[in-house]
Amino acid sequence: MRTYPDNPQKAYYFGTCLVDMFYPGAGMAGIKLLQQNGVKVIFPSQQTCCGQPAYNSGFPDEARTVARKQMELFYKDYPIVVPSGSCAGMMRHHYPKLLANDPRIDQVIHFSERIFELSEFLVHALNIRLEDQGLPIKVAWHSSCHALREMGVTEDSKSLIRQLKNVELVELQRESDCCGFGGTFAVKQPAISAAMVKDKADDIGQTGAERLITGDCGCLMNISGAMQYANSSIKGQHLAEFIWERVNGQS
């Protein structure tokens, strides 16, 4: 069982590169949710990427270079909140392995221990209460593999959705199946990846949901991209942005 900071006053925010480039609204929504719940959010402006793309592709040296740079920026003893199970998993579980031989391994571990995925932080550190101001809507939830298996935050994410009283959460038939993104897997084994994302899109389709909510932008890009390609009317959206819109009646 993980321990969470009790009533944290300050927290760092690690936006992630995909959020930065493609879904900055989701990134801002996460920040605003934290701020609204009494947290002073600090966003080190030099942050870029957690290094996972290189780490997974067979280029650990380059991954280490980028990882070290990120860690230097988050040097104070605040929790670090990340709106992505995948990047959170990278920094929490894989940094100590990637940098096992680093002379500053203690700092690495201290950094990793402070990493929290956004949902788990909202639920366990802030005990957030959500008041749904939006109109009735049916949504489906997709958990990234790393949110599910490395960070173990899927139930936290879903509990946030369940707090929204006008939102009907419909379960997928094969919720724990990978969507096929896998970073460079999608372009190194495109046919297999395409088969996986098609099955995921079909599963979402059969739920009758209007929207697909997920906590990871890699999955979001992948599944949305496939749904749009198939001319589906279902929209994909990041959890943070969805929650922010619902509590502000903007859905």
């Binding site: 920040i31 966003f43 067979g58 593999c145 724990s176 096929g180 372009v187 991209g225």
Partner: protein
């Protein structure tokens, strides 16, 4: 090297993805195996305790591998089991042939043995005029159809009953055409019973070899394994050198893990523990028992502390069943005897990266395998390791074929990526440029693969960095 055809993985994948009947058969069977495993390991705390025990048992045993192998050899020999060592597959095949010839034997009945598949033993023996007959029902089916197994535990799972009915009807004399599973089994039972009765030599694998007592432990449901290891006058057991455990008391937890993971049962029909050939006064059982211990690259894997974990594998097959890639391409697409996640890390290390390294790209690193592996092999980490080695020009690397993928384009691309991501201003500028280009990016390379199946993502007009500044968020 067991596999002689060069692996054309892309073609294999393409063919498999189009074979809807194959994928349907496989997915249905894997769903069943996944559910059965889930039900038999219903208590999460207890399951984690067991898996930790499995991991520790293998870890400890491998930590003392040379000593345990010596002890196993001594105990077996004292008990009358003849122990042979084969560094390579040709040697192992030769050993089997020599034993057959020394008895003038031409008929071999085989229990299920993945090592014998690794050796391509049947084809080798056939070239020397020896009939090697598979007796495990799944293996029997694929042998009739001249195929290799599609899954470690259920070799014929890629076939449905119509296909099997036809295989039986076409290949077994006097077999009526039937799709009834009980009737199909009855045909196999009748056919094979005669073979058990007449066979000169029986062959089996080994699930666990116990060093403490010199005991070979085999599990099965059908009874063909007991037939092969008890009826003929000679029994040959094949094992990979990593299958040794230290103590008899290691068996209960390891068997619980193996059987629960492989078939979703608490226990198989039979757990067969063999410690010697027939003793004076005993009326049945083989008069000779041979144990052939195969290396085929395992001792090289052993030398690396991280890669050694590959050898923890107890061949339960559950990583295959849970793998989204295996579920979409089946076992044959992998081209080597061990498919699925374990195949992705084992085959490249045994066959060399040039031959089999491509298998390590066929993973989205979803971690489904790691979550269920009974001995907690960190398969995703080992896949990353294989990927690292595929590009690494490090002269101290002990992986055969390391650096085979190294090319200036990817090297440069990742160096640029690292530069951009450690120089925030460059990063910000780059994003601005891409955002301005937007949808006008040329669809080449990775982008082409992406847009073939999906709409490309759109760069936001303003990055998070810009929004954060605009919103006055602190940056310290």
């Amino acid at each position: 090297m067991a596999n002689h055809k060069p692996l054309d993985f892309e073609n294999n994948v393409s063919r498999a993805l189009k074979d809807t009947q194959l994928i349907k058969n496989i997915q249905s069977a894997m769903d069943t195996l996944v559910l059965k495993r889930k039900n038999i390991f219903a208590d999460p705390a207890e399951t984690e305790q067991l898996r930790a025990l499995g991991n520790a048992t293998k870890s400890q045993a491998l930590g003392k591998l040379p000593a345990l192998l010596e002890r196993l050899e001594k105990k077996c020999t004292d008990n009358g089991i003849q122990v042979h060592w084969a560094e390579t597959i040709p040697e192992a095949n030769q050993l089997v042939l020599d034993i057959m010839k020394s008895h003038g034997a031409t008929r071999l009945v085989k229990g299920k043995s993945m090592v014998s598949e690794e050796m391509e033993l049947n084809a080798y023996l056939q070239k020397h005029g020896i009939e090697a007959l598979e007796t495990d029902l799944g293996e029997f089916i694929i042998q009739l159809n001249h195929e290799t197994p599609a899954h470690i535990i259920v070799p014929a799972i890629h076939k449905n009953r119509d296909q099997i009915s036809k295989i039986f009807h076409d290949n077994i004399p006097d077999a009526p055409y039937t799709e009834n599973v009980d009737e199909l089994n009855a045909i196999a039972r009748k056919t094979l019973r005669q073979k058990f009765q007449k066979a000169d030599v029986g062959l089996s694998g080994v699930n666990f070899a116990v060093a403490e007592t010199g005991t070979l432990c085999l599990v099965e449901n059908e009874g063909n394994g007991r037939m092969c290891t008890t009826v003929p006058g000679v029994h040959i057991a094949l094992m990979g050198l990593e299958k040794v455990v230290e103590k008899l008391e290691d068996l209960p937890p390891m068997l619980r893990l193996l059987i629960g993971s492989a078939t979703g049962q608490l226990i198989t029909t039979y757990v067969n523990m063999i410690t010697s050939p027939r003793k004076p006064g005993e009326k049945d059982g083989p008069r000779e028992v041979h144990l052939i211990i195969l290396d085929n690259g395992r001792s090289k894997i052993y030398a690396d502390a991280q890669r050694r974990q590959t050898l923890y594998c107890i061949r339960c097959g559950t990583c295959l069943s849970h793998c989204p890639v295996y579920n979409r391409i089946g076992g044959h697409a992998y081209g080597y005897i061990y498919p699925g996640p374990i195949g992705k890390i084992l085959n490249p290390q045994v066959e060399g990266l040039e031959a089999a390294g491509v298998l390590a790209t066929a993973s989205s690193l979803c971690n489904a395998c790691e979550a269920v592996c009974p001995v907690k092999i960190p398969i995703p980490d080992l896949i990353r390791r294989i990927r690292n080695e595929s590009y690494s020009k490090d002269p101290t690397s002990t992986v055969e074929g390391h650096g085979y993928k190294s090319n200036w384009i990817e090297s440069l691309a990742w160096k640029i990526w690292a530069f951009v991501n450690t120089h925030p201003l460059v990063n910000a500028a780059g994003i601005k440029v891409l955002s301005a280009l937007g949808q006008k990016l040329p669809e080449v390379g990775p982008l082409k693969h992406w847009t073939r199946y999906r709409k490309a993502p759109e760069f936001a007009p303003r990055s998070l960095h810009e929004l954060v500044k605009q919103n006055g968020v602190d940056h310290e």
